[in-house]
């Protein structure tokens, strides 16, 4: 089956739903503190990147949006919209790598690792260093230097999370798949 960039079939829908649920659980429970307030390394972004690479940008967009929106709503009562948008964007851009990957067929070599990480680092820089602070200033009129510092820290944390956790998960998953053409005729 050929992969299209904007696939949205039953599997994508279910993956989006469950991926977002997973995102919320991890967002609330599994964080690694960095020592700076309001910024932990959130394992949720690793899983977000993993799902985006596996199921495409639309799934990623919705996972980021629903996942972050709902977890904010659960934890703080009301979503912090600028960051919700940034989360959705991160997962969307990371998801653009999807048509180039053959993880379902068990292939995830060095070139794929590099490609995945280039996409996710770019995604994190665009969303957290540019989009999130700008939205913070426009929508919430937050002080400029405060939001940019926050944004840079968030970008670094999330890129580490996506890079380490995302890559490890993709490696493990690709190994659990049987390779294409692994059967030989006797």
């Amino acid at each position: 089956m050929k992969k299209k960039l904007f696939d949205f079939n039953t599997k994508t829908i279910v993956a989006t739903g469950l991926g977002a649920a997973l995102f919320i659980v991890l967002f609330m429970y599994v964080k690694i503190p960095t020592g700076i307030p309001e910024t932990d390394i959130k394992t949720a972004y690793g899983v977000g990147a993993f799902f985006s690479a596996l199921f495409g940008p639309i799934a990623g967009l919705l996972i980021g949006f629903i996942g972050h929106g709902l977890s904010d709503a659960i934890l703080y009562g009301s979503p912090w919209w600028s960051w919700v948008v940034a989360s959705a964007l991160t997962c969307f851009i990371t998801g653009l790598v999807y048509p180039k990957m053959k993880i379902e067929e068990g292939e995830f070599g060095k070139a794929d690792i590099v490609r995945f990480n280039v996409y996710q680092v770019l995604a994190n820089i665009i969303s957290w260093v540019v989009v999130a602070p700008v939205l913070d200033i426009v929508v919430y009129a937050e002080p400029v230097n405060y939001v940019f510092t926050q944004g840079i820290v968030a970008a670094v944390c999330n890129a580490i999370s996506a890079g380490v956790i995302g890559t490890v998960l993709l490696l493990l998953y690709s190994r659990s798949r049987s390779k294409k053409g692994s059967l030989t005729k006797e």
Binding site: I24, V25, I66, G67, I74, G77, N145, V168
Partner: protein
Amino acid sequence: MKAKLFDYIDRDNFVYNLSGLTKLMAFICLTFSVMFSYDIRYILFVLAVSFCFFRISEITFRQVRTMVIYVAVFLLINFLLTYLFSPQYGTQIYGTTHEIFRFNSRYTVTLEQLLYQVTKILKYASGIPLGMIFLLTTNPSEFAASLNRIGVSYKASYALALTLRYFPDMIRDYQDISLAQQSRGLDLSKKEKLSTRVKNMMNIFVPLIFTTLDRIELISNAMDLRGFGKNKKRTWYAGKPLGRNDYIAMLFSAAILAGSVCVSVFVNGSRFYNPFI
């Protein structure tokens, strides 16, 4: 634990009987109106309105206690950090300086800064009862149905319904796996080195994600077999027609949003209310 938040319990009162669509619209209108306005008088008004609805909806404090604590900590940190990073931001916005006292030349306390920061806290605070009402009084399936009605694609609405449906399961899975691994001696507490803790965390994580992937396969096959996604439209079992109260509530919240914009444009001339000139 927090999973309780999605334990939707049906009650019979004004807020519960509104459709999910109405509650979503009201939530968005009211939060956007406080997000837009920096006028403390208007924000206090919206805060009062949202507390009224909170009373009407008969949510008990016990249900929202954890959330209130989280919010309080978040607001406090935000308050302190804002001051630390930009102690003169208020002066910059309002254009005047009324100094109360000073720590040094950079960190002075001005009336302007106080107004700015208090306004900001109230802004966030007034959105919170609304979010709680929305989360606690909306039936997930009915909510997906009403999202579809305002034009969100039914596939996306269905994804959201699945999220709400499987979220409690996922928490249970997470706790099961976490306890199972801890009983095998995996230490997740602060006693362990950070690197080991991260590795141990991965040991909880990986089974959780792989069970999820299996489950995705299972559910999507079941849905495919039943012909999900064949047609352009679908009907909803939980869908509910809009009543008179829904229209009233939607008009009311739209009026509040319009009011917020009007106050900014006609009364204040900007998003900020400036009492200092």
